[in-house]
């Protein structure tokens, strides 16, 4: 698998879009820090970029990559190598490249602005890890959607729809449910709904760590109340790991029996 990973890396790292992705995070983080001049404020400003953009980019790039790699996958499938090795290698190649460019793109400016000498270094590492996890989650979702949909337009549409629901529509549904059923105890429902959305999980995790109750919102507050800060953060990370493993499981299961 390391061989597949190595060559996927080589291919992806040479393409311009990964460089642009890195550059985008580098420049926007730099500007945020330059204008706020305070790593802890910079972190909060970066939050929304991470929560919206990483899932979108991970899902778009992964879908495009999967469909474009089709003929290459066929070449690999004709070699003496296990199917699962090829498909795991391709997933890791892409998700690790995306996670690395985000990690370095956003992390390096913080070092220049002296995050290592402030109390925000823990928060920064946590936020970067959440970005990395989001890359893994949405890459896995995109690969799973793509392998189940032979038609790339349908696959791409579905992938974007998943992002749209989790990043935008979800909040609307959530608020509607909270208002509509405000006469009932809704804590457990709220927790369940949060677990169903990896973007919300990442948001809760970061805000619990930053300890900004004003930004936590309803679910964040409930998480805090129910689990406390440390436990709440741990649960959100575990739930996000499941959000990576479950799509990957379906992706690899399909890869084992698919005709190419």
């Amino acid at each position: 698998m390391l061989k597949i990973l190595k060559y996927s890396f080589k291919d992806i790292f040479r393409s311009k879009w990964l460089l642009i992705y890195f550059g985008f995070f580098f420049v926007s983080t730099w500007f945020l820090l330059y204008f706020t001049n305070d790593p802890s404020k910079g972190l909060v400003s970066l939050l929304n970029i991470i929560l919206m953009l990483i899932p979108l980019m991970a899902i778009v790039f992964s879908t495009i990559y999967f469909y474009n790699a089709r003929e290459f996958t066929e070449l690999l499938l004709a070699q003496p190598i296990r199917r699962h090795t090829i498909f795991t290698g391709q997933y890791l190649g892409l998700s690790l490249s995306m996670a690395t460019s985000f990690f370095l793109g956003s992390g390096i400016p913080f070092l220049f602005f002296g995050v290592q000498n402030s109390d925000s270094s823990g928060s920064l590492i946590n936020m970067l890890l959440m970005g990395v996890l989001l890359s893994f989650v949405f890459s896995a979702l995109a690969f799973a959607i793509s392998i189940y949909n032979e038609n790339r337009i349908k696959g791409f549409g579905l992938a974007i729809l998943v992002w749209l629901v989790m990043a935008i529509v979800y909040d609307g549904i959530f608020i509607y449910l909270m208002v509509r059923f405000s006469d009932y105890p809704l804590e457990k429902l709220a927790i369940a709904l949060s677990l169903l959305n990896p973007i919300d999980l990442a948001r809760i995790n970061i805000l619990l760590q930053l300890d900004i109750s004003a930004l936590m919102g309803y679910t964040g507050a409930i998480f805090n109340k129910f689990f406390g800060t440390a436990m709440g953060m741990a649960i959100s990370v575990i739930a996000m790991l499941f959000w990576t493993i479950i799509p990957l499981f379906f992706y690899l299961r399909k890869a084992g029996r698919k005709d190419f």
Partner: protein, 239 residues
């Protein structure tokens, strides 16, 4: 040697292979031909394990291939013109395949023979279709495999490369390898085929040597003989 018994494959509601029985023998060029959508590619991909049959059995060199993968180290496969990772160079692609397959590949001789030296460091995206085909040929021939599969190998190649490849296919056959070839180019079939396997509607419509096909149809050229077979098939369907 590849043995295929009672092979069935459906894609959705379309039955592509309907109980295929076939022996592809060593030491001969087995040409698989047939109209479009007759199941040629599905057959080749089933042998390679890219397509998983619904029913039936395939044995490669005496070994059942179901759920196996090591057997592919004994197959060299040259696919149709394909687009590989565009940012890799032919050299990297060749290295990757030899990384995966290990062993002792004979790449240098093939690269020189195809005149690929000047293109080895160029990114694949800048290479012409013909040059990419040469890279494909290198990948298929760099190992001394007892089974060689060529899917429309000469499409896009210049006349010199085409001749070279045809000569090479004959040489490999004379070494006793099992050659499996699909092509639509009649002259190539006439030049190379020892055995013609004519697929139609997912079954083997005809399996004969080119001489016997010509003889049976009373035609001097293979092209006319095949056309005649297709015509008679059409009339029998219409009737």
């Amino acid at each position: 040697m590849v043995e295929i018994r009672n092979l069935f494959k459906k894609f959705g509601s379309v039955e592509v292979l309907k109980g295929l029985n076939l022996d592809l023998r060593a030491g001969q060029v087995n040409v698989i031909m047939g109209p479009n959508a007759s199941g040629k590619t599905t057959l080749i991909k089933s042998i390679l394990g890219l397509v998983i049959p619904d029913k039936g059995e395939i044995k490669v060199l005496g070994e059942k291939i179901e759920k196996k993968w090591m057997y592919r180290s004994r197959i060299g496969y040259m696919p149709q013109i394909a687009h590989y990772p565009e940012n890799l160079t032919p050299l990297e692609l060749i290295r990757m395949i030899s990384d995966i397959r290990k062993g002792d590949p004979d790449t240098q001789a093939i690269i020189e023979w195809l005149g690929l030296e000047a293109f080895l460091d160029k990114k694949l995206r800048y290479l012409s279709g013909g040059t990419r085909q040469k890279v494909n040929a290198t990948l298929a021939l760099m190992y001394d495999c007892p089974i060689l599969i060529f899917d429309e190998p000469t499409v896009g190649l210049d006349p010199v490369a085409r001749l070279k490849l045809k000569d090479r296919i004959r040489e490999e056959r004379d070494k006793g390898k099992t050659i499996i070839l699909t092509t639509h180019v009649m002259s190539e079939i006439e030049e190379l085929a020892d055995q013609i396997i004519f697929l139609m509607d997912g079954i083997i419509y005809l399996e004969e040597t080119p001489e016997k096909i010509k003889e049976s149809q009373g035609e001097a050229s293979l092209e006319r003989a095949i056309a005649r077979i297709l015509e008679s098939q059409k009339t029998s369907i219409d009737a």
